[in-house]
Point group: C2
Chain length 129, copies 2
Amino acid sequence: MDAQLENLKYDVGGLIPVVVQDYLNNEVLMVAYANREALAKTLETGKVHTYSRSRGRLALKGESSGHFQLVKAIFTDCDKDVVLIKVEQIVAACHEGYRSCFYREHQSGAGDWKIVGKQMFDPAKVYGK
Amino acid sequence: MDAQLENLKYDVGGLIPVVVQDYLNNEVLMVAYANREALAKTLETGKVHTYSRSRGRLALKGESSGHFQLVKAIFTDCDKDVVLIKVEQIVAACHEGYRSCFYREHQSGAGDWKIVGKQMFDPAKVYGK
């Protein structure tokens, strides 16, 4: 395995958080988790792979939507326990149709988060039912 | 407590990952963890507070260095299990002296991560010994 990936600090479950960022405007698109295999696949294919905790398996980001994330650069932090990947995002990152998963903003004094993102596609059409 | 913070999904240990981003150029500065109390303090004071897992307590970011993070906007993602905070960063985010904690880049075929960040201060001088 790639020595640099082996060098990272994975948690007790073998996972590491991954921040995915648009390489053009630095927008944070999503935060997911990866294991060693997902990172190795990401390096090998040039497309972001994650470990889906809900599905309990490796997942190619965009596998059903075609909204892949093409890897431009990979970084890690001072503690080597988080990975940051800069990508070219095809269409949108969020399965709810938004460019970024971070489409809700805190509003002082309000009861709920405010949707500030712009929807790029209709999830019902892309994923079907 | 703020209804929007109550609305987030904290993990079994009561923590949620927090991505901190420069509000001017969108550089990702660090990833840390917060609990309800840290987020409430962040809202109340306008300065990022985290929960330090290694020290087992609430921590004001910059408490010993003076390198505070002044809150500009707070976001959450589609699953409401990650928080993103845009900040004005005083001096630098990383305790190792770099502007961002993500100062190491993966180099294809190399044995180790390459330092690509620029050091903004000398940690020995700021934190003492």
